[in-house]
């Protein structure tokens, strides 16, 4: 019985109503009107923010470098269209808090004039290091939503001599269909990108994994991959979160990534289909990552679609184009409905991570009506990470954060399965996000208190040293005075005797 449970290749997960049919059958819309102004955040990736290179008032071309990457893990940012830089300042970020983040404001000139970096006729003649460099220079990051710089991942794959490259075409989040459409319409380009990535990692085996609810994408990809024996296209069961990299790695290779390790350490690297497409464009056409396909969907959207937009386009403009009915919108979500983040308003730019924009109506949302936990353990059953969300949430509710950490709080991937399934509508994921933040805050507070103690000890030592010094000086002064007076007295005595 025990072995039966552990050997199962998919653990947990939910069968969510997909709602993909809203957008999956129509072609990607490419005639999105160029916005007048684009807001380009300097940090659209995991790692350090990019450093601005262009000043206010400069004229830039589409694809021109705006800010260069700094540090080991970072990515550059390019101009999504041609025009003039109006401002470099803090503007609200596409984040649940909408707190400000540094952005460049670009006024487009309507010409959309490309600046492409030079390309070689056959990129397969390039050295693998060169491939990584070019991918990095194009600002490509993981487009599945993780936004980890792709070049860094390619380098790690090369260094660890990985044996399998998995291309993630699972797209398990409900509503989203941008990867599905991309695979159907641009299969050759994606396969070319996959081959380039294989070359860049000096690896010779790739598996494209597509959920079996996307048969057309599967056939298209299979057809495109047929000439290349190194690329295998497979179908995987439809079950959220199949697209969680570690779940997919276990399903495809049977290997499990140990906690605290990167997948490349066990010989596997995973990239999104959108990333492969971006790699193709960078190496074949010298185009930096300046636009992306995203799904606009939800009950409040009049024209749900997959649309290619320049990065930095305000969500309000995308929504206007898709005829979102604001009076019906109960929540705006960036990303999918399971892991995506709610946004407070729409005057926020789209970024590299924006795989979808949802405007959901009240009836589509999970109810807010929280009931007591009845310990039905549905959350334990669906947790793909093997946690016990109900016990963790209970501990957090009672402020026992350490107990929650012992139960595996740090292994939670916030996939949302527990919140999805909970019959009592308990916001379990929010408990875990709150607790994770609180744990970090407490660690920082602890660190600060240690630092404070050190500073005060230093200060006290210094004050003591100064006091001692002054005391010694005082002593020396008094001694000198005594000496002077003695001399004076002697002199006087001599004078008298004389």
């Amino acid at each position: 019985m025990l072995s039966f449970f552990t050997k199962s290749r998919i653990r947990g997960g939910v069968h969510a109503e997909s709602y993909k049919e809203l957008t999956a059958s129509d072609e990607i819309v490419t005639n999105f009107p160029l916005p007048k102004t684009l807001y380009i955040p300097l940090q659209q990736h995991v790692g350090k923010p990019a450093e601005p290179l262009i000043r206010v008032g400069d004229k830039v071309l589409k694809g021109q470098l705006l800010a260069y990457s700094q540090g080991m893990i970072s990515a550059p940012v390019h101009a999504p269209s041609s025009g003039i830089i109006l401002d470099v300042n803090d503007y609200p970020a596409p984040h649940p808090s909408a707190l400000p983040i540094r952005m460049m404001v670009l006024e487009t000139d309507g010409l959309d004039e490309w600046f492409t970096s030079p390309v070689v006729d056959d990129p397969f003649q390039l050295s693998p290091e060169d491939i990584s460099l070019r991918v990095g220079a194009a600002g490509i990051v993981g487009l599945g939503g993780a936004t980890f710089p792709t070049a860094v991942k390619l380098n790690m794959g090369r260094e660890n001599k990985i044996d399998t490259l998995i291309i993630n075409g699972a797209e398990c989040e409900p509503y989203l269909s941008c990867d599905d459409r991309l695979m159907q319409e641009r299969a050759e380009q994606i396969i070319d990108g996959v081959r380039l990535m294989l070359h860049g990692m000096e690896s010779d085996h790739a598996v494209v994994a597509i959920e079996d609810n996307k048969p057309q994408a599967f056939y298209a990809m299979q057809k495109a991959a047929r000439p290349y024996s190194v690329i295998k296209v497979i179908q995987i069961p439809t079950r959220y979160p199949m697209g969680w990299d570690r779940q997919l790695i276990r399903y495809v290779t049977g290997r499990e990534v140990p906690v605290g390790c990167r997948s490349s350490e066990i010989g596997v690297t995973i990239h999104n289909v959108g990333t492969a497409h971006a790699v193709h464009k960078a190496l074949r056409y010298g185009q930096a990552l300046v636009n992306r396909v995203l799904t606009v969907s939800g009950g409040a959207v009049g024209r749900p679609m997959n649309v290619e937009v320049p990065l930095g386009t305000l969500i309000s403009e995308v929504f206007a184009f898709c005829e979102v009915k604001s009076e019906q919108t109960a929540r705006i979500i960036m990303g999918g409905p399971m892991m995506g983040e709610s946004l407070p308003h729409t005057c926020l730019p789209t970024v590299k991570a924006t795989s979808g924009l949802l405007a959901l109506t009240e009836s589509e949302l999970k109810s807010n009506d929280v009931h007591p936990c009845i310990r039905c353990a549905a959350c334990v059953t669906v947790c793909p990470a093997g946690l016990r969300p109900l016990d963790m949430a209970n501990n957090i509710r009672m402020n026992q954060l350490d107990a929650a950490v012992d139960l595996g709080l740090k292994d939670c991937i916030s996939c949302g399965c527990c919140s999805y399934i909970c019959p009592s509508n308990i916001p379990l994921v929010q408990y875990f996000k709150y607790a994770s933040g609180e744990v970090v805050a407490r660690q920082q507070a602890q660190h600060k208190s240690e630092q404070t103690k050190r500073l005060m000890d230093d200060r006290n030592a210094r004050l003591e040293r100064i006091a001692k010094q002054q005391e010694e000086e005082e002593k020396a002064r008094i001694a000198a005075k005594v000496e002077r007076e003695r001399l004076k007295a002697e002199q006087a005595a001599q004078e008298v005797s004389v």
Binding site: P372, A377, C383, D411, S414
Partner: protein, 357 residues
């Protein structure tokens, strides 16, 4: 556009399930067996059922009111109703009204609300009440009415039933008898062997429920139907029922094969008493059973073992209630020791080692 929506974390969409939905599904699954039981034992059983349910709702409302919380949503979640329903099904059908009231009070107040309400209790409230009643009022709780279906000539009419429920039974021996398990136990005490004591036993009648017993536990077929439907609906999993019934069946088979004059056959074990009701509807109670599949298998097997041991060697003819309560108390322990393996870690919680290739 809209401004200042509060940050909300995913998942933004959810499965269409709610606590009350689950409760109502369980009640729906109980309905066939309940209706059959009410019909089988006539008006007094109906009176008792109504009294038990109404008093449970009353007690729940009083407790919630004392806590200063709005009463209506709590009552509407159906948990008090379900508890009372399950309790009523385990009561002798012609028990006097105050058995139902006291039972409901014990279940709701002592079994649930003193722990902090829904989801907080350690023991199954219905079983707490049943066991407390059995120990406190052994006569009333072991007076089993004869089968006397509604509208049959021997069954009491409406007016007569009020007398039975609210004033007590006048002519005990004429209308009551022993359950098969109780009968066998008494026969053993008089050194009768099974072959003689079971002359009149019919497996088929027991299977459809035509036998003396608690209000809702007699019909094996209807209870199994309800339980299987619940599994199909995904409300309960197979782990507890299968391991519980499997354990009883296995143990009974072994002992029956060894000595068929002193040990009841496995089919008799499964067909009589409350074991089917307990396996599908009471041991599977979310609040008081373990969280993991493996834990639930252990829990079910433990219940099965205890039921068999109490029935066979204990002083009581039926041990389901005791067995469930004992295993309820072991649930935190089971949950502590049997936990799922976290991805990327071994069972002890240490990170897996990187395999050497």
């Amino acid at each position: 556009m809209m401004v200042n929506m509060k940050p909300r974390s995913g998942a933004h969409i959810g499965a269409k399930a709610s606590v009350s939905h689950i409760m109502w599904q369980v009640m729906l699954a109980l309905t066939p067996a309940t209706v059959f039981g009410l019909w089988l034992f006539g008006w007094p059983a109906i009176n008792l059922f109504i009294v038990t349910v109404l008093s449970a709702i009353f007690f729940e409302a009083v407790c919630i009111r004392l806590q200063g919380r709005p009463v209506k949503p709590v009552i509407m979640d159906g948990s008090a109703l379900l508890t009372a329903w399950l309790l009523a099904m385990t009561l002798p059908p012609w028990a006097p009204w105050w058995i139902g009231v006291v039972g409901s009070g014990l279940a709701i107040i002592l079994g649930k609300q003193v722990y902090g309400g829904l989801g907080q209790n350690l023991f199954n409230p219905a079983m707490i009440a049943r066991v407390a009643l059995l120990i406190s009022f052994p006569i009333e709780m072991t007076t089993w009415a004869n089968v006397s279906p509604l509208f049959f000539s021997n069954s009491p009419g409406l007016i007569e039933s009020w007398h039975i429920t609210f004033a007590g039974l006048d002519n005990l021996d004429a209308s009551t008898g022993a359950t098969i398990l109780g009968y066998v136990k008494t026969e053993f005490s008089q050194n009768h062997l099974l072959a003689t004591s079971l002359k009149e036993y019919s497996g088929l009648l027991n299977f459809i429920g035509w036998a003396r017993g608690s209000l809702g536990e007699t019909s094996v077929i209807l209870l199994v139907l309800g339980g299987v439907w619940l599994m199909r609906q995904g409300i309960i999993q197979w782990y507890i029922p299968v391991s519980l019934l499997g354990t009883v069946f296995l143990l009974a088979s072994i002992f029956h094969v060894l000595d068929d004059q002193h040990y009841l056959s496995p089919l008799m074990h499964l067909g009589s008493g409350g074991v089917i009701l307990v396996a599908f509807f009471i041991a599977t109670d979310y609040v008081t059973s373990p969280n993991t599949p493996t834990g639930q298998v252990v829990f079910g097997a433990g219940c099965g073992l205890l039921i068999f041991v109490i029935r066979t060697w204990g002083a009581y003819p039926e041990g389901s209630g005791f067995a469930v309560l004992l295993m309820n108390s072991a649930t935190p322990l089971i949950d502590y020791y049997i936990r799922p393996r976290i991805y990327g870690r071994d069972r002890q919680g240490k990170p897996l080692e990187i395999p050497k290739s």
